[in-house]
Symmetry: C2
Subunit: 370 residues, 2 copies
């Protein structure tokens, strides 16, 4: 029997709470489906800073490189707001993404029918929504050099005397590999890819457009490809999101657009993500799974958090890292059933009211529905 | 009697069509309110390229620097897609913004009651919406150096052998002046400013946050200031847009977020903008007014375009450049009345159907309602 190695990094805020529910789900699959997991746990973000003085210990980084998959909760919180930039909780997360070379971040935005009335958008606009944003995750303005805040004292025109710099830098190779990931995924779905950039004002956007087109023309001519400026993309996501199948975009636009898309589904508490890299020796891709939501410090420790995003991230892990598509389906259907039964955490309570369940109760209900 | 000098640059696509309706409005104010305008007209964008070989002639640029206000339609279109980057229609627009130093771009998103059901968002989410996005317009990644696409042939790891670069660069002075504009505007409205950046991943975002806070603490302590990450901002705009009063953000985030906000109001065809710079010798700010929408090549020349965004941009001109707030109110009320009467261009037709009016008929109705 194969044993799957998992590294769990619960992180900060509600991270540990939602991850505890994933532990229950893992336990269920071990007990009932004969799966075997070797689970280790460590710190990331503010929690790692508190213990190790930095947001990710080297040992944790090394461990992440070895396991079949990393499951991450969330990082950050106001307690760490005044830390030096290089020590911020977010740097731990970005280090994992970068050193594991997780270039393709998959962010599905699906609207569960039971929640269609809960979105701020009209039911007919979001019902049946099923789009997949593929965000480049290891390059662009998040990582480009030069960067920093510098003195600009000798410039009499610069009141305040400082300058802040970040660099958007994409190589053609970086664009091609994430484009391939998007086209592959599209083939298993609606066979359509829309690429988003600002080629009208940014040269890096022109390169993006040309390279995506090149990959299409040379390798995926069977997939339908369109291009859209990212500002129009933001608008179209709000106007008529169902027009999209797979969206491929860069690190920064992907960050913004996927959060806008997330909101279409009703609650950020629902949205999972997978970050995939190149195949390892065993053929599985390097991979990390995390909910799209953050550490939500305002509700941390109160048992209010919605564990579904984290649980659905584990479903993506079953599918993409462990090749257990049927088990992933099973877990997704359990979530769907619980929602259809009207079980709601606080973030899913509409104006009509009712009594929300706790984080732990939601986890129990999902396990019971498996 | 003061004569107000205006430079009209209709541009490409639907630009000339919507601007023709503004001409009617100007004519009405001349005939009925004793205003006097000295109007000249010239080319920008693809239209300028066709005639002069570049997207903005130097003479046009010089003229723009002299007038009380520039009115611009829209630029761009597929016919110019393969032009060299420096010749693209958009470069004409960006040159105007940059050389006139129009650092504060005001993009109000208001939901007219008559159109609240037309938004893809629920009525209760958008009804009464009245927010103002202040976008920095002359710096950031749109203009930073180094930029371009370069060969990267000697890098064996870079399949494709090219690299695309853009630079986000903000000085403290650039941030402070747009922050001041936002705080001033907030004082005349709800007295609240929300500043958006990605200070968790970008140093230029840290500088942004610190400088906005500095201006607040030293000069506008009476205005309520909050900070939000731009990805969360995109989400909150879709979730509960009424939580905002004034939003201040950088050039790129402002581009994306204002388009998302625009869609809340039902149609991009409704959204005006003002781009303001420093005061000229006569005390008036350098200024350009333009609809938020683009040149919409797909409907150009068909009389389908909605001229309201362009007409409301002229209302902003009356208010901000000509100090004619009452006349601006009058024009805005005329638009509101026509909408309340059910007059609709094609972009404002809902599922219930009906017969849309043409661009020109909409202009006539608004003039008649004045
Ligand atoms: C926490 C932060 C660094 C991160 C990002 O900006 O990528 C988050 O917003 C996300 O989308 O995963
Ligand atoms: C046409 C384009 C250059 C422009 C921009 O990106 O600023 C437009 O999208 C806008 O928002 O005014």
């Amino acid at each position: 029997m194969t044993t799957h190695s998992l590294l769990i990094l619960p992180g900060d805020g509600i991270g540990p709470e939602v991850m505890a529910e994933v532990r229950k789900v893992i336990g269920w699959f071990e007990a009932n489906k004969g799966l075997s997991f070797d689970v280790s746990e460590d710190l990331v973000g503010g929690a790692a800073y508190d213990k190790y003085g930095k947001p990710l210990a080297d040992e944790t980084m090394a461990k992440a490189q070895e396991v079949d998959a990393v499951l991450l909760g969330a990082v950050g919180g106001p307690a760490y707001d005044n830390l030096d930039f290089s020590l911020k909780p977010e740097r731990g997360l970005l280090r994992l993404r970068k050193e594991m070379d997780l270039f393709a971040n998959l962010r599905p935005a699906q609207c569960f029918d039971a929640l269609a009335d809960f979105s701020s958008l009209k039911r007919d606009v979001v019902a049946g929504l099923d789009i997949l944003i593929v965000r480049e995750l290891t390059s662009g303005i998040y990582f480009g050099e030069p960067r920093g805040i510098h003195a600009d004292d000798n410039n009499p025109e610069n009141e305040g005397g400082r300058v802040g710099i970040n660099t958007q830098r994409y190589t053609s190779g970086e664009i091609r590999r994430v484009a391939r990931a998007a086209f592959e995924l599209a083939r298993k779905r609606g066979n359509r890819v829309c690429s988003m950039e600002k080629a009208n004002v940014m040269e890096s956007g022109i390169l993006w457009r040309e390279e995506v087109q090149w990959v299409h023309d040379n390798e995926y001519p069977d997939v339908e490809l369109s291009h859209m400026y990212a500002d129009n993309g933001a608008m179209q996501l709000v106007r008529r999101p169902n027009q999209f199948d797979v969206i491929v975009t860069d690190n920064l636009f992907g960050d913004i657009l996927s959060d806008a898309a997330a909101m279409l589904t009703g609650s950020l508490g629902m949205l999972p993500s997978a970050s995939l890299g190149a195949p390892m020796a065993n053929g599985k891709p390097k991979a990390m799974y995390e909910p799209v939501h953050g550490s939500a410090p305002d509700i941390a420790g109160q048992g209010k958090a919605n564990p579904i995003a984290c649980i659905l991230s584990f479903a993506m892990c079953l599918r993409y890292s462990l090749n257990l598509g049927d088990d992933a389906d099973l877990l997704e259907r359990a979530v769907e059933k619980v929602l259809a039964d009207g079980v709601r955490t606080a973030d899913l309570m509409g104006a009509e009211g009712g009594t929300p369940v706790s984080t732990s109760e939601m986890g129990d209900k999902i396990v019971a529905a498996l």
